[in-house]
Symmetry: C2
Subunit: 120 residues, 2 copies
């Protein structure tokens, strides 16, 4: 019975699921935000506001400066983070979320809720 039902339903389920998987925007978003360390960086910026590179680095202690720099460039190039360079000597570089970045807050909050409920 179950195997017959599976056989009958399989093509429909597969077709529906195929449509879901092929939502290219969702897939792009999860691969972007879920990239190693990116979620932590976004969380820190969401709560810390405008921050200097070293502040972000201290907030994500296991992340190397080289990788943090790479991630910040990616986030800047995707319009999620804005980089500010101050006048004066020495120049000071800081980062903050753009409106596009800030609007990730609800997704991060939902994931936090799930994590608090389900992870030890």
């Amino acid at each position: 019975m179950e195997s017959g039902s599976t056989t009958t339903k399989a093509p429909i389920a597969a077709a529906e699921a195929h449509d879901c998987a092929c939502c290219p925007r969702y897939h792009e978003a999860v691969e972007l935000v879920g990239k190693r360390w990116t979620g932590a960086i976004l969380y820190v910026l969401l709560h810390g506001g405008r921050m200097r590179f070293t502040e972000i680095a201290h907030s994500v202690p296991d992340l190397s400066d080289r990788l943090l720099s790479e991630r910040m460039k990616e986030l800047e190039s995707r319009g999620i983070v804005k980089r500010h360079v101050s006048d004066g000597t020495p120049t000071k570089v800081s980062y903050e979320l753009t409106p596009k970045g800030h609007e990730l807050a609800p997704a991060m909050a939902e994931l936090k809720t799930w994590a608090d409920r389900w992870l030890d």
Copy 2:
């Protein structure tokens, strides 16, 4: 002025952000769900219900069977996916989200909303 303000506020901002970054559950969740292809697999299972391995594979066409198998084992070991093996010959293996997996739906929905708004 701004640099003075930055100097004064930096330790506080860094301390707050440090607390955020050190939310180990959130970090674990984002690294788990954001792992390459995992987001797509979860999305497919959320919309497709109980699915066979080959159905999931067809729904995420760029993912190799080897890597899909690895991801399914990870998700099963984390209690996010349940694996069913049917009686009969040949046995049929299918997967579905557990309650823990289903409760990722709001986070996925928020990320989808963000993606639809901000990504091309």
